[in-house]
Symmetry: none
Subunit: 412 residues, 2 copies
């Protein structure tokens, strides 16, 4: 299989000032093109480190993609280092790049500096990958069957350049068709999932690989990947079998999300929804409204942090709060029913719990949450106990609430 490595050059990543989002984007594009990424490395703007990284990458991969260090300032040394590494004899002015730079500066009424002119100079033994969105051209080197491509680190410039790189690559080598598909599950832990699907997993063909990807907000994702012929059909069949094992724990396939699936189910039923949130503090509403077009089915939410709001706006019975406490089945039920009525929605979900770290007690510990789900037919309640910090408890409760609504909507 054709393999590649990504090398990101720049101190700002190593001091944690910026997150390297370029590499994930490049990796996704290259994977889809049938290139396997062996390694992603971030190093500093030092000649020694760049050379070392190149030597190591060349040993293990067919291609090396470098981003960063092509700017006009003194700390940008990628081009000089590559020229040395590939024994270039001299630098040549790449006229189309120079024309682009001059036109760009003229448009802004600025003079072209010597540093900017130098950006149009490239080593004599590389092929230029044009940069239509910036001043630093990309460079394609080949030596001993290894391809080394250098691109700017500016995400927008790199993203416009990579398709040209992939096209050029496809003309040089034959690439397989790698297929990935990711199933989404909620409500079953990674280990319980592994036990439940053990037989299915053991029976997977060798050419198909499985990955578990757990996440508080999305549940456990299961990804199948393969490069074999008819991969799409084979994976579809495998997932169909798996869906039968997992039943309603499966809520979709990427790029679905719990909130997008809830939205689809509501649209299909031409139904609306509202939320009444105490401990989740608006997080459920925030997730629902992250979907464009959610105003078609989302009526709104009452974040009822104080008991007075629970009673005045949602119609919760104050003596029940007194008697059972705000974190109770009774109150979750009245909140869900109340918000359905107050906001004139078909469905509603409610949360009342102890996000922590303060406010817990022995019978109602931190992380405990009661949920209510109200439909035109009935209102149900249930409790969960999350053992996380405040942020984790809130995120988990919001995900459980979305999933509970999904299950109700699926049942109809």
């Amino acid at each position: 299989m054709f393999t590649a490595e990504i090398i990101t050059i720049g101190d700002e990543i190593l001091i944690g000032q910026i997150v390297d989002t370029n590499s994930a984007w490049m990796a996704a594009q290259l994977n889809m093109a049938g290139v396997k990424i062996n390694r992603i490395t971030s190093i500093s703007d030092k000649e020694k480190d760049i050379t070392k990284a190149l030597q190591s990458a060349e040993k293990y991969s067919d291609m090396v993609l470098i981003t960063g260090g092509l700017g006009p300032t003194n700390d940008d040394i990628t081009k000089q280092t590559l020229a040395k590494y590939f024994n270039s004899r001299k630098m040549l002015v790449h006229q189309p790049s120079m024309d682009f730079i001059e036109a760009r500066f003229a448009m802004r009424g600025l003079a072209v500096s010597e540093l900017n002119r130098q950006q149009a100079e490239i080593p004599d033994n590389c092929t230029v990958i044009p940069n239509r969105h910036g001043t630093a051209p990309g460079m394609w080197f080949e030596k001993n069957h290894t391809i080394v491509v250098a691109m700017p680190g500016v995400p927008d410039e790199m993203k416009k350049m990579l398709p040209d790189v992939i096209n050029r690559l496809k003309q040089r080598v034959s690439l397989p068709d790698i297929v990935h598909k990711t199933m989404l599950t909620y409500g079953i832990s990674e280990s319980a999932l592994a036990e439940k699907i053990d037989a299915w997993e053991q029976a997977l063909p060798n050419e198909i690989s499985l990955a578990y990807l757990p996440n508080i907000e999305t549940g456990v994702k299961l990804r199948l990947s393969t490069a074999i012929h008819n991969g799409n059909e084979i994976i579809a069949q495998l997932f169909e079998n798996l869906a039968n094992i997992l039943g309603n724990s499966v809520y979709g396939y990427e790029p679905d999300t719990l909130e997008s699936v809830v939205g689809k189910l509501l649209r299909r039923r031409k139904a609306s929804i509202a939320t009444a949130e105490s401990c989740t503090g608006g997080k459920i509403a925030h997730r629902i409204t992250s979907i464009s077009g959610s105003s078609e089915y989302f009526r709104g939410s009452v974040v009822a942090y104080s008991n007075e709001v629970k009673t005045n706006i949602l119609g919760v019975n104050p003596s029940d709060i007194e008697k059972y406490g705000a974190v109770s089945s009774k109150i979750a039920l009245q909140m869900a029913k109340g918000v359905r009525k107050a906001l004139n929605a078909d469905f509603a979900v409610s949360t009342t719990g102890i996000a922590g770290p303060a406010g817990g007690s022995s019978d109602k510990p931190v992380g405990m949450c009661w949920f209510g789900v109200s439909t035109p037919q009935e209102t149900i309640t249930f409790a969960k106990q999350f053992g996380m910090d405040r942020e984790g408890n809130i995120a988990s409760a919001a995900a459980v609430a979305l999933n509970a609504i999904r299950l109700q909507l699926t049942e109809f």
Copy 2:
């Protein structure tokens, strides 16, 4: 200088499914502790690759920090690989980890599976770094003066574990005493800030470094770092001068946040707050309630996504919606006043805007948002235009709303 490398293990990064945010966070923390990061590498869940990466890292760095591959499933092989690499003789049950796992499962009413039990087993020649937020303990190995630490890849678990790792490191090696302090600003862009503080920045002593850290949710942070004697006092004085230049754009110092500062100001005034959110969809409420103890001043929120909720719950005049549109000064004003009254709060903030990508028009483009701030004395409104995607527009509007409330509360 003491150097370290970060190795991230997991195919999901190499196929571009997730962005590696852990490494940047770890790099920032380690830098602040006086550790220089030489390299960040992402590799797959393969024994050969892990071993190769360890060998290479050991050659060039004093410490190696590994994340990922400690889950309970078959594709998680980091622990076994490390045991082999460090010639561990056997695996031992780490009883505190086992107790934690059993307690956690018991709390949820679940049985502990064999796979989960195995998570509490660790190689006999490593020191355990406890995981208080998950089932996979961290491991600290030492060999030939190289320290290798393995942590889970789940960000929340890793983030709670790294401080313990840094503390342990400080006991073993002498690290320079680097002092960092970060000033928080909101409402002024990075470039405007740079112009405004140019003279102050030029006059900074050589031993003091300044970093600009812009972020949609927090505004631009300014971090001063130094290793010189009396660093704390010198930085405090420099920031005092800077605060005079920047006035009320400064809202605090890390670990403050806009929502924590709003909370402090409300507590000081013994006042309460409510939010009425249309386009922000609960994001402001979510940020306010991320602060433990916010129930003391946060009454709640009405997320009024439908016009009916705006009129029925918040008392917005339906004919004004007809006349001016829901995204208007008039409606923002009525929403803020309305939620203050309906939720019986002292202060309120409202948002009504077009998060996008759909729903824009020439006079009300995507990214436009009207804000209302209501106090016991008055209600003001203003508009902003954000040129981002849906997520960015929502996050920006929520931050502007929190900052507007902060400015109102500061004025009193």
